[in-house]
Symmetry: C2
Subunit: 354 residues, 2 copies
């Protein structure tokens, strides 16, 4: 199996810890390894034939540096000159694999997700690989544990057995709460994980049907050698559209199937997701990387520091993040607005903090 890791995310939602050149996937939120390193390590037991990491030119150096830990593993870091959403990145990876191994099975994994039960992920990839081998485009659906309104959903046709693969009825955008509650009750709705398994030729074939212009560019003769390849990619990205694989292929193809999985998954979408990743203390507070925390009548805070002592007095439901050059204090229910801070820093020309 080939592993394609999508590692091109920008660094706005975890500001000030994440930055443009050091986005979420390249930092450690919970431990020693970065999210990307953990993504690599959790699939190493599958002995992948090759790992392709699709990143962007700003983050390529740091990505290469972080991959030095795994020098016995065949890893290629491919830098996009500009981000064009997931379809071009995945298509490029498929084209690169197809040169040598057209029917090779590739698993596409985001670089910045948290997965508690990593063994379950590997088992699921192997299981899904069987359907992929038959030519299906398999997507992993996460068994929902709450009526989350921040995720997209997949509605599955549940006429197979409990393990799947199931046919997919439709993809649903982030729903309002009432809708999300109904999904949870109905039992055949799953969180759209953004993880896929398919044969390189299968996804290229569907791209040919639904994204012919992109497909045409992707299947041009690929040059040999790193420098030539880099130039080829730069030219390729000059005039391709920004399209997601969901919109470009998955919502249109008849070959899509879904494999359900329950593995303690979180996309760690903002600071407010910390409790999905680190168990809160008795006061509902998560405190990461602090020298200590003194809480006087405080609760439900999310704290990440540069090894400082933290004291909270009379505050509740607050996010506190401290890095060597910046501090964020944010209402826990307003974490989606952290990107506004990054926007304002940009507008003010304070590029040192981006």
């Amino acid at each position: 199996m080939y592993i394609v890791i999508l590692a091109g995310g920008s660094g706005t939602r975890f500001w000030p810890l994440s930055r443009a050149a050091l986005p979420k996937q390249l930092i450690s939120i919970t431990g020693d390894r970065s999210m990307l390193q953990r993504t690599v390590e959790r699939i190493l037991p599958l002995n992948p034939k090759r790992i392709l990491i699709i990143t962007n030119h700003l983050q390529a150096d740091e990505t290469e540096r972080q991959m030095q830990l795994y020098d016995a593993v065949p890893i290629d870091v491919i830098a996009e000159p500009v981000g064009r959403n997931t379809a071009p990145a995945i298509g490029l990876a498929a084209a690169l694999i197809a040169v040598h191994d057209p029917s090779g099975i590739m698993a596409v994994l985001p670089a910045d997700h948290f997965i508690k039960n990593e063994k379950k992920l590997r088992e699921t990839l192997v299981f899904a690989g069987e359907a992929a081998g038959k030519g299906y485009l398999v997507t992993l659906g996460i068994l929902p544990s709450r009526p989350e309104t921040g995720y997209g959903y997949i509605e599955a046709g549940m006429d197979s057995d409990g393990q799947g693969p199931f046919p997919v009825k439709r993809f649903v955008e982030k729903p309002p709460l009432a809708e999300a509650l109904r999904y949870l009750e109905e039992g055949n709705f799953f969180w759209n994980s953004g993880m896929f398994i398919w044969r390189a030729d299968a996804i290229l074939e569907e791209m040919e049907s639904f994204m012919p212009s992109l497909h045409e560019k992707l299947v041009q003769q690929l040059p040999v050698g790193q420098a030539a390849l880099k130039e080829h990619i730069a030219a390729l990205y000059q005039d391709i559209d920004s399209v997601s694989i969901d919109y470009g292929v998955m919502e249109k193809s008849a070959k899509v199937q879904m494999v359900p999985v329950e593995m303690g998954w979180s996309d760690v979408g903002s600071w407010s997701a910390l409790p999905e990743v680190v168990e809160p203390d008795g006061n509902g507070t998560v405190c990461i990387n602090a020298a200590g925390h003194i809480a006087v009548d405080s609760s439900d805070c999310l704290i990440y520091t540069d090894r400082k002592m933290v004291a909270t007095v009379g505050v509740h439901n607050i996010v506190i993040v401290s890095t060597p050059d910046a501090i964020l204090v944010c209402d826990r229910d307003r974490c989606q607005d952290v990107k506004k801070v990054v926007e304002q820093l940009g507008t003010a020309g304070l590029t040192a903090y981006l």
Copy 2:
């Protein structure tokens, strides 16, 4: 005129900026100079005969260091071996002055107050010095600008002209709000500033009447030489009681008079006093020493940082303090509980943060 500066405060209310060895008076909250340095500088135009700074042994070195700026001025730093409140400190200073100049006039000033109109302070000290020369114990009463419940009050007999000095009817402890409102309306109540002007022999005489045991120890023959004096003070403090000058003398003496003054005074008692010292911005926020502040739907915050960029999102009425090793996030109405943080750090043995 002699100036006696009481500089023995501990560092709990401005944690984490203030520490045991670096309390409020030795740090700068608003500018380049420490509160003590500003206290010294604002009385230098009076050409004091001598400045006596009473501090404690933990803070003596840093106090000496900060006084090196004024090496043309006769300054003595006197370290108490233990804090025994204001009466022993003031009595010791009076005894030291009385050795050479029994009728010398001494002004007693706290080291950690903020005064906007410094010229007015100097004029008031000179004016009050006239009454002091006649043998009165003069205390400065601050014209109250709001029904503050955090200060003690002085009730004056208003049968003199508007400048004073007025006789003092009584000293009042921190009042409840209804009481404070009444004081403000009645017009003859003033904030107890803790600033005094009197002759050295006058205060010693009243101490002889009302604190005879302390007086007896103070008027023992003082030895010559720094080392001998230090030993003498160490012995002196072995068995003296902790008593405030208010309780020990001012509330009992018939010689007390009050001079009113309006000079933009604040005792800067906690982080919540910052707006008395630095003008808030249009959103009610005071931001000191930050590289910048990005406010997304935030207001009325008090921010002090170690030169970091600060972003606030959806938070209001919050105190944020960052130092190289610690962070405080506190409800602005709970600043008096910052001392609980210091207590808990002590209980936990985290002495590095005290």
